[in-house]
Symmetry: D2
Subunit: 131 residues, 4 copies
């Protein structure tokens, strides 16, 4: 998924600030979810990011070409699932890789709940589609 | 270290967005470094964040009371060192914990270099001050 | 109203980016409104920023001392009201002044509607309190 | 100029926050300047935004289609010049219009200085190209 860089992403070293990488990951995650749920009558259900790990591999500068953010499903559990990511500069070099864990929860109790069956099915399908 | 929340930190769920937690960590890290290097004639040398892990424990909402971000040195190697963090809501409950790894590098070669001796000394002292 | 600066407010010239000044104004505006409506049973009603003018007077750098953002009601009309602002650096020098116009509207029709009477009363009182 | 929207541009009302409109304007301004100075040996010289006015015409929501930000030179003075902007939603409706004033300055004295002759020439040409 292409993600445009912005001037405001730069920090005072003229590099894209490390915090902004997390914004790129979020952008790709939101778009993946919108895709996966595009056929659902009621696409929204409560889920939350509980863990994220990111390895910074390369500094990025401002360029008109978009970055590429790859995102895919790496595992699907009962109440949680995991995503993998790679941020690539426009020349294809790896700028960062990351993983994150999402959990479905019940807003009333704030406890975790099973992933809705229809969403779990598309997650499993997406995971197998990676292979 | 107290860090003020801003209206613009909220996302559309009226929670502080997960990306912003990384901004709070950065803010605490920058302030810690400013403290550690406050006696140095030339406080700036090239170092870069290479890895960060964050566990989200609690959603945060907008409140006038500042958050508390704790940050401390967890280990000091030859070319890199690690930091630990805790983000606490104003009632003291844990909102997130995190770790990050910083590496000193040579801008010319982009390779890692040993931590400058004077900075390494204050890092070691800071680490022992935690114990 | 004191507003803390953040490392992430800087742009690549090591100045606080001009866009961020608007974030400071918003922060002060939100806090003023929270104050004005603090006695209301149902404090929220639809209003929207329709115009903002800002004069940049001085560049700001990152410092641990908070900025001061002053905000006050300058005029109260039937469906709209205006605010004035000054952003002061921690030494009291003027960094920016600004004005903005807020309009109350009906979400159903998206047309402007009269300011609710109780809110209009506190706005008028706040305006006279400036004099 | 197309500018992509991001999830993080939304505020808690699920609208693109008013502060972010200023980021879109900045993005378009930076790109215009990069274009105008593309033939210059030394493209950078000190200039600063001193005034900006923005009229918000329409709320914007998150959509995959980019916004269009138009930016043009409206006047060229001795030490300053002015830009006009329009932000259009992807269906072509006007979301905001704005103007800003830029001033060239001498970093040593912080006083305004004449626009460099070669840059002034391209500004005048750009202004006439609008007509």
């Amino acid at each position: 998924m292409p993600v445009e860089r912005r001037f405001s992403d730069l920090d005072f070293l003229q590099h894209i600030n490390n915090v902004v990488y997390n914004d790129y990951l979020q952008e790709a995650r939101i778009r993946l979810m919108a895709e996966l749920r595009s056929d659902f009558a009621d696409p929204y259900f409560p889920q939350v990011l509980v863990r994220q790990e990111i390895n910074y591999r390369k500094t990025l500068v401002l360029r008109p070409e978009p970055l590429i953010v790859e995102v895919w499903v790496t595992s699907v559990g009962r109440t949680s699932y995991a995503l993998g990511y790679r941020i690539l500069d426009d020349d294809g070099t790896l700028a960062a890789d990351a993983t994150s864990v999402m959990v479905c929860f019940d807003p009333a109790t704030q406890g975790s709940v099973p992933i809705p069956a229809d969403y779990r099915a598309v997650l499993v399908e997406a995971k197998e589609g990676n292979g």
